[in-house]
Every structure is written in structure tokens, then in C-alpha cells.
Symmetry: D5
Subunit: 146 residues, 10 copies
């Protein structure tokens, strides 16, 4: 079973179950962003989490195997078109140099890891319009001098 | 005075002052990310903040005028090459669909604004290696139905 | 049912019905541009409108479900080739900086929203050749300072 | 004098005059969008309007000559990055096929001209946030059959 | 029936008939370039011509319906590779600025329409090698001033 | 003297002379399209024509030398943006396959040369709007079989 | 039968026959490069050669018909990735300006035809490593002056 | 002295000398293609050849030093536009797979080197039009198995 | 059997066998990098190794035939997106000019071959985190002077 | 002083000194690849190394300051053209998936860091042609699960 078929199987089972990503993630014991990214084929799950997800959504073992496979992280649009995703691309364009300035000021020459990394997405209720609050946490990796 | 010359004048004055972005931002009364982005030419400052910055860094009035000008947000690399910025581009590629899933689940059909938006970058000390903590806060904008 | 199949089902039913987009939109109670964009898979409909459309065109419930799904707004041609659409791309290229100048002059630093947005397309009869009249109405979003 | 120098001369004179595009356009006797686009080098002015603009802004005759020159309409970014302009690009991407459907339904096989074309940008005051109202008016050009 | 299937059906019928595009066009009563472009899916035919073509080539009514549908003019290669077509692309590159100069000199600021437009391709016999003679006729459209 | 400086010198002299391309071409004894393309740096002139042009426009000998130099035919925009030139690009996109079909039908497997090639641009007066008439004449080159 | 299926049929028959391109070409009476290019769908064969090839490889008549069809010369990779082909692309990049200089010096303003053109590929045995020897022969086409 | 200035110095000296590349190459003792490519900045010369060239063209020692520097082989157009060079690009596109087939048939799995490589360009006089004859000779490099 | 099907057959057999690439390579008698690249379709195997692999993994003879076929080395992403591969692309971008400097300093004008080339990937255990150690060995090829 | 000027100053001083990168690196106490990359503007040096380099090459203090500045790692060619660097790009294309397979097999899901990374380039003398030996050593970073 390929990752693409795995995702379709999970999406169908999720629709049948009536559960949302947050509820599923809570049952599996992982953060919603990480679990969702694995179900969309962009991360792999450790066996116990993969099995648990299949149990929660009543899916066969081959889905668990596919969830454990190492993914090939691939996207086709160098510049995304969907407005939800484009806005993030825009943030990288507008604030990229600013982020670089501040990371170097606070930490020195190095980067924020996208591998040793976590992300949470929360809702902040607000009478003037609810707000999306995103927290990202990545290890600082200093450039090695040799 | 163009934004490019403005940035060079600010960078030189900042080096002379020995102050960091965080200290300057505290004196001006703005968040470091916003102030830095304005100094790099990607946002405009209201007159009182522009004037205050020039006072803090001992810069002439034309820098204040340039800081207040509406910027043309332009970047040349559709895919950034600097590793600090590329890692963010990668995060958008890897987690874009996941973010879309979760925003739709929590808020419905719409986007997180990149205009009514703020960002903070903090340092989390950690014996296994310090961590970069980023908080982004954007208004949810529902698609209008008409 | 995927959005693509949904669109094909609607197009076939529309052809059978002999109705135009304007007539269908009037029956459903939405503007023609918005309804058409939802049928082409670029917007989602609220349940009551989706159900109504299926009633008008005699379509099964799964079309209504597909109409309510959150769309992935995707286009493949960064520069469109069809002359109808290319002319709009050309307008953005020729008048983009002008639009920016005038929005900033009238409203300050910010943008016209493409989300809290509506559009109408009308026909102006003219002996020298009929004219297409388009009205777009988008909320002004000021850049947040923080 | 090249168009680029012409634009810089006009921008400087405009800043000195304290006039906005709307006021200048009213004095010259043209619509603000058209006048602004000519000053930004994207359209040419007829001699009487070019001369009038130079009179209003106290500019030398060579600016008038440059305003009358046929422009080369050139833009460098196939996909614009500034958010004001990108949102328009996004509108073309999201609504392009819809516009095509509705123009064909109302007018038959043909296009909306971007040459025999006018545009106005207005402000609609609104307690929930002011709105940008754009009206575009382009001649319908039917495809010739031969 | 989609345009692609329509084209395949016409090509097969044309091969069976042994007729060339010129002969078919003469029977249908249209110019060869226009008729061929419609059969290749790049233009639409009026009902009487579409029906006539189907009569000449002995094709079913659905081909006529497809010929009348409004086409989406789409090409995949921004720069064509086939040498026949590339040479035309090269002509646009080499002579584009020259064409612009001469159209502006003869007609003023405006363009040659590609919509109100016709083209003929003829053979000029020549002992040193036959020559392709192409005549294009497009309406001049002056830029509107408003 | 480089081609770019040559073109600027010719343009300035042409403006001083008050002559148009057609009149200059007639005096030099070449077709307007060819002469203009050489002045814009896209073709080279034989010595007698280069000298004659310099005589007509009162230009120094180094302009003649530059006109005789072999040009590097270079354009920067794979897809042109100026509407005059884009419409030609669009014609190649829309009619490219049609041109290929008809050239093969009339001549066999081969191409229309863009080297052994000439072009004329004429004005056809028409009460419904003047028309641009373009005639292109290129040698047919059959593919060699070996 | 499309060119793609034709190529597959020929490749399978060639494998069954145990013959190489050189041997097949000798039997058909054409040069190996030309014959191979036609079998790969990039050139067309005259009827007698197409029939002969089918006889040599024991292929049905529809393969001969496909071999005679005018090909659409299409390649998908603007920059080839396979090292054999990339090295040729590199040669064009490294030596392109040199080739232009020397052709102009020897022949004047014009090009080497890629249509009236032949190519041979030979093996030169060499104890230090065999060498590939390629001979290309293209007609010089002078630019027409008109 | 950079390679670019070196090329300009050589071109000016060559024009003054009245010598062609072939004559210069003969005096220096190298093949015309190699010598020309080095003068255009795409190859380096051994000291004795660099010095000899400067003697032949009466150039200062810094030109010799620049000729000996290791070049950065850089070209800006992924797809060349000048027709002389484009035709070669087209040959790679049309015949690339054919070349690969025949090299593999004659030599096995490997490539023709573009480094251990030479090229000659000759003129073949022909009453039907002179021909450009190019001979390329590159070492076959078999893929290593390890 | 095409290379793609070959790879799928090998991957399935490898999963069934429970063997890793290192163990398989040891049995076949080749280095793991080379064997893996051949199984992924990027290199060809000599008959004895291809047969041995099929024996080890219990695969039919047609897999051996496919392994011996000359591959078309093709990749679709000019800039890879998977982080494992992108980091290598980044290394080429960051260190490319450095590599060029040092190869020229040590060896003179020439390149490191990617054909007469081998690569090994090893694991270096380290309490602060294991390390990937890669050794590449490519023949230096001096540019030929002729 | 910008990085670009810094590199030019270092290159000129290096040429004057007659020292190679290996000798300079040995005196400074860093590896040649790292030192060279810093001098080319792609890495920053710690103060003691920057000062030492300036001492060795007799350069002013502003060069040391520039060497310590955080670099913006930028390259302009998504696909490099110089053959030395292209071959590395090709290695990433040909072996990228193989590297991914083997890293995952040996280490699990994660990447080889390009930040906590070192590289050495050595010469292996060989009578059949000297060989370039490259050793890369990067920390394995496992994907975080959260």
C-alpha cells in the first residue's frame, strides 16, 4: 500500500468515524499537527502509534505498515496556490530576512531545525474575530567550524 | 531616500550604537520582529515610532520619512537558498496541507491572515541545545459567501 | 466524490436542464459569480445552498456533500494561456502598481482582501459593441503594527 | 528622458506639491487610474493632458514628451510578491474559469478587452471596515470567424 | 464529448476520407486556417459550419456539438520545441520590438488584435525552393484614454 | 560602439530628423521591417546600406560599423509582456499546431525558414477600424533524409 | 497507431531480431542516426524506407504508416538530465558563442541549418580509451536582407 | 583583470590586427575552436600559448595572466535565443535520445566526455549552398561498477 | 519489463526477504551504494551481478534483463524537496565554489568525474549523536587542450 | 565592507602571497574546505581565526570584521553550469534516492545534517589518473515525533 492510498483510506475512515484530527490525536497520544502530517504522508509513525491509529479508525494492518514507512516528502508547487498555504509562503518571503536577523542576534550563526521541530495550532477566541495561534519550536543548530 | 539606503543607514547606525534589535525595539515600543521587518524595508512605521527609532539611533529625519513610506514587499528568490530561510520554506512545503486541514477543522472555510498578523521569536534554553520558539498570531478570515 | 467529478456532474446536469448560471444562481439564492466558482470547485457552499442546487439540477446528495467540502484552490498555469483569462493577468501586470498607489492613497498601508470579497459581472449594451462590466468589492485590511 | 526618470520626476514633484493622485487627475481632466498608470509609465498621454500635468506639477517640457511616448509595458515578476498585487493575481487564479464561463454565457465566444478598457477604484465606508470597490469596463470582442 | 476526443474523431474521419484541410474548408465554406484551428480545438464553429463539417466527413452529431463548444485555449510549452512552431516563436522574439515600432508609427498607441483576426497560408512556387506565404489581418485597437 | 549604443544614437537622430521608419527605409532602399530590425540591433546591414542610413540620419561612421556587426539575437522575456508583442506570442500558441498541419499538407515534412524570410506590415483603412496587415514570406525547408 | 506505440513495437522487434541499429540501417539503406531518430519518433521516413524497415523487422503495415507520419518533435526537459545527453547540452553552453564566432568568420551572417542537416557517429579505437567521433554537416543559411 | 575585460581587450586587438580566428590560431599553434573558446573566457590556456597570443595581438602581460586563469563556465540562458546557437540546442533535443542509443550500442553503458574533447568547424564548398562541417571527438567514459 | 516495474519487483522481494541493502550487496559482491542505485534504476548491472541478485531475492530472469538495460537517468525535481536529498543540494550550493577552488588548486583545470566514480556511506557511532560518513572517489579529468 | 569586497581583497592578497588554500588553512588552524568557504563568503569565522587569516595575508582589520559577519548563503543558478559544480549536482540527481534509502536503512527516519557537517577534499595519486577523494561527515538528525 502506497502512502497515497493510505491517506485515502484514512480520510474515508475518518469521515465514517465522525472524529476530528484533534480527537483522533488525543486517542493516539500524539500532537494533532504531527499525527495529521503522518496521515497525509509527510511523516512516519512509530509502530505503537500506527497500530493505535488503525485501532481507533478501524483500519487494516497494511495501513499501519504504510504509516511506518519512511516518507518521500514531495510537493509539486514551488509557490503554493491555495490561499491558506500561500499566506504562509508570503510570511516566509516578507519575514524571512527578519527571522534570520533575530535568530543570529539571539543564538549566533546557525539555523532553526525543521527536523528536531514541533508545531501546534490553536484557536484564540476573540470578539473581533477568532485568531489562529501557531507555536513552532525548533532546535537551534550552530554551524560547525572545522 | 529609498528603502534600500534607509536599511543601510540603519544597519550602520545600529552597528555604531552597539544595540541589538531587541533593545532598540524595547526603546521604540514595538515588538522586535515588527521593528526589524520595518528596518529591513518590509513594513512601514507610524510617524511616532519612526521618529523614535531615529532618535534612538541618532539618524536624520529622512530615515524617518523612508520608514513611513509604504513598502513594496519584494523578494527575488521564489525558493530561498539561505538555510535559515529555506528551513521555513520547507516547513511550509511539509506542513502546508496539515495546516490547511487543521485550520478548516477548527475554524471552517477560510484562511489565517498574513496582514492582521503578529510574530514573536524567543529563545528557550535547553541543556540538550537551545531552542527557537516562534509564536504567530493571525486573524481567521472566513471566505465570504455572496 | 471528488470536486472534479462534482464539476462534471453539475456541467452535465446543467446542459440537460438548459438553464444558465444566472438562472440557476437566482433559484439557489446566490450571486452568479460565487455559485459558478463553487460549481467549478473553487469555493464551498453552505449546506442549504448546496442542497438547493442539487434540487434545481436534480442531482444526488453526494454532489451536495462535495459542494460543501473545503476546496484546494489550485491552478496549474502560473501565466494563463486562454485569452479571456490572460487579459485579466495582463490587467494585473499593467495596473498592479497603479492599484497599489491608489489603495495606499485612499486607505493607507494595507491590502484589498481576496477572501472577504465579492464580484459581479454584468453586460452593458452599447451600439459600438457591448461591454463587460465587472464590480469587485473587497474589504480593506490594514497591516497590523505590533 | 526615459519613462523611469519621468516617473521619478513626477513622484518628486507630487511629493513637493502635497497633492494626491485624485486631485491631480481632477485638475488634468482624466480618471485617477488612467492618469496614475501613465505617470508610472504604463500608458501614454495625449499632448494636452501631458502638458496639463506638467503645468499642475510644475515640471519641464521633457516630462511631457516622455508622457506622450509609447510605453513598453513590462513587468518582471510573473507572479507578483507584493500582497496588494498578489491578491489580484490570486483572484485571477481562483475566479479565472468562472469569469470565462460567465462571459461566454452572457456574450458568446470572445473576450473582455484589456485595451478598450477602463477601471475605477473607490472607497466604500463601512463600520465593519471600509471596502475597496473596483469597477472595470471592457469592450466585449467576439472571436472572428473567417 | 471533449475537444480532445473530437479532434481524434475528426482526424480519423479525415484520413478515411482522403481529403485535405483545404478541400474540407472549401466544402464547409470557411478559410482553411480557421477551420483547421477549430478542428484542433482552438476555436469554436457556428452551428451551420459545424453541421456541414460533420456532413462532409460523415461524423455524428456529438462532434458538431463539441465543435460549437467554447474552447479553452491552452498550450503546455511556454517555448515550443517542434521546429515548425519554434521558428514562429523565434520570429516573435527577433521581430517583436520592430513590429511594435512600426505599428505605433503607422497607427499610434495600440495593438493588433489577435481576436478580430484572420490568417491565410499560401504556397508560392519558386525554382529556388517553394516559399510559405502567410497573411495576417488584425484590427488595430487603440488604447482607450479615460 | 555596441549595438545598444548604436540603437540609442539612431533613435535620437531619427527624432531630430522628424523622419519615420518608412521614409528612412525608402531612402536607404530596404524594406521598413528589415531596416527597423537592424536599427534595433536584431539584424546586420550590408556596408552600402549602413553607410546610406548614416548619411540620411547624419550619423558618424562608427554607427555604420556597428550596423554591419553580426548581432547576437537575444530577448529576455520567454513570454513577452507588452500587449503588442504578447498578442503575437498568443497567435503562435493558438495557431501553432494549425500552421504545422497546413504547412505539412501543402509542402510535406519540413519548416518555414525564419532566416530566408521577409515580413511586411501594412495598414488597411477600414471604416469599422483600420487593420494591420502582415505578410510573411519564408522559404520552405524540407527535412533532409540521409 | 501513435508514434509512441510505433517506437515500442520497433524496440520489441529489434530485441527479438538481435540486430543493432547499424545493421538495420544498412539493410534499409539509410544512415544509422537518421534511421534511429525516425524509429524514436523524431523524423519521418519516406514510404520505401518505412516499408523496408517493417520487412527487415517483420512488423505490420501500420508501423510503416506511423513511420511516415509527420512527427511532432517534442522534448520535456529543457535541460536534459541523462549524462549522455547533458554533456551535449553542456557543449552547446560552453562552445555556443565560439561556434557563432567561427561560423560568422567563415561564412558571414547566417546559421548552420538543423533541417538540411546530417550526423554520423563513429568509434575511433584508441589504446588510451576509445573515442566517440561525431560529424555533423549542415547547410549554411545566410540571413536574407530585404 | 577579469575574463570579461580580457575578452574585450582581445576583441579590440583582433579588430585592429585585421586577423581572423583561424589565422591567429595558426600562429599560436592551437585549433581555432579551442583558441576562440579560451579568448571568450570558456577555457584556460597554458602559459606558452597565452604568451604567444599576446605577442601576436600585441597585448600586455595581464591578458596572458587572465587567459591562464581557471574559468567559471557560466551561461545565462538555459535555452539560447540566438538562432545560430539555438539550432544546436534543437539538435540536442531532437537527436539526444538517438545519440544515447547509438553510443550505448557501439560502446556500452557510458558517455562521450565533454572534457577530454575536441571540436573542429570546417567549410565545405557546395554549389547548392556551402555547408558547415563540424567534427567532435570525445573520449568514451564507461560507467564504473564498484 | 521497464525499470520502474523492475524496481517495484525488487522492493517487494526485498521486503519479503527481510534483507537490507548492505546484506544483499555483500551477497552479490558489489558496494551497497552501487547496487542500490542499480535497483532504483539509475545504473545498469553486468550480467553476473544481475543474475546473482535475482538468485538472492528469488526473482525471475526478466528482472535480471531489466537490471542490465542501459538506464535513462532522469529526475523530475530540478530542486529536490525531500529533506534528505535537499541537504545534499544545499551542500552543492554552499560549497560548490569552494570545491572548484580546491580541485583547481590541487589538480589544475579539470573536473572530478561523476562517471568514473564511487561512493560509500558509513555510520560513525558517536555518543553526541551518530554521524553519516560519506566517501566519494572520482577520477580527475583535465580539460583537453587542442 | 561587504562579503563580496572581502572575497576580492582576500583573493588579491592570496595571489600576492603566493600561498595556496591548504597552506593558508594550515597556518590559520582550520580545514581547507571550511576556510575557503568562509573566504568565498559562505561561512563566518570566529574572531581568532579571522584575525589570524588577516595576519597571514597581511590584510586590514575590516576584512576580519567581514569574515565574522553572518553570511547570507545565496546562489543564483538553481542548476549550476560550471562542469566542476554540475557534476556534483548530477551526483545528487543520480544518487539522491539511493542515499535516502541507505541513510534510512542504517539510521532510521531522519537526515544527514548540512549544518553540523564537515568536508575534506584529498588527492589520491594513481598511475591511471589521479583521483579526487571527498569525505563528508554530517550528524544524523532523527525526525522528532511529538
Amino acid at each position: 500500500m502506497k502512502k497515497l492510498e493510505m491517506t485515502e483510506a484514512i480520510m474515508a475512515a475518518k469521515a465514517r468515524s465522525g472524529l476530528g484530527w484533534e480527537a483522533i490525536a488525543a486517542e493516539v497520544g500524539l500532537a494533532p499537527v504531527f499525527l495529521t502530517s503522518a496521515c497525509l504522508g509527510m511523516n512516519s509513525l512509530k509502530p505503537e502509534f500506527a497500530d493505535k491509529l488503525c485501532e481507533v479508525l478501524n483500519l487494516p494492518a497494511e495501513v499501519s505498515t504504510a504509516l511506518q514507512a519512511f516518507p518521500h516528502k514531495r510537493w509539486d508547487q514551488a509557490i503554493p496556490t491555495d490561499p491558506v498555504i500561500y499566506r504562509w509562503y508570503e510570511i516566509v518571503g516578507v519575514y524571512g530576512e527578519t527571522i534570520k536577523e533575530l535568530i543570529h542576534e539571539k543564538f549566533g550563526d546557525g539555523i532553526m531545525s525543521a527536523i528536531d521541530f514541533s508545531m501546534d495550532i490553536d484557536k484564540e477566541e476573540n470578539p473581533a474575530g477568532d485568531r489562529v495561534v501557531v507555536t513552532m519550536n525548533g532546535k537551534f543548530l550552530p554551524y560547525k567550524s572545522w
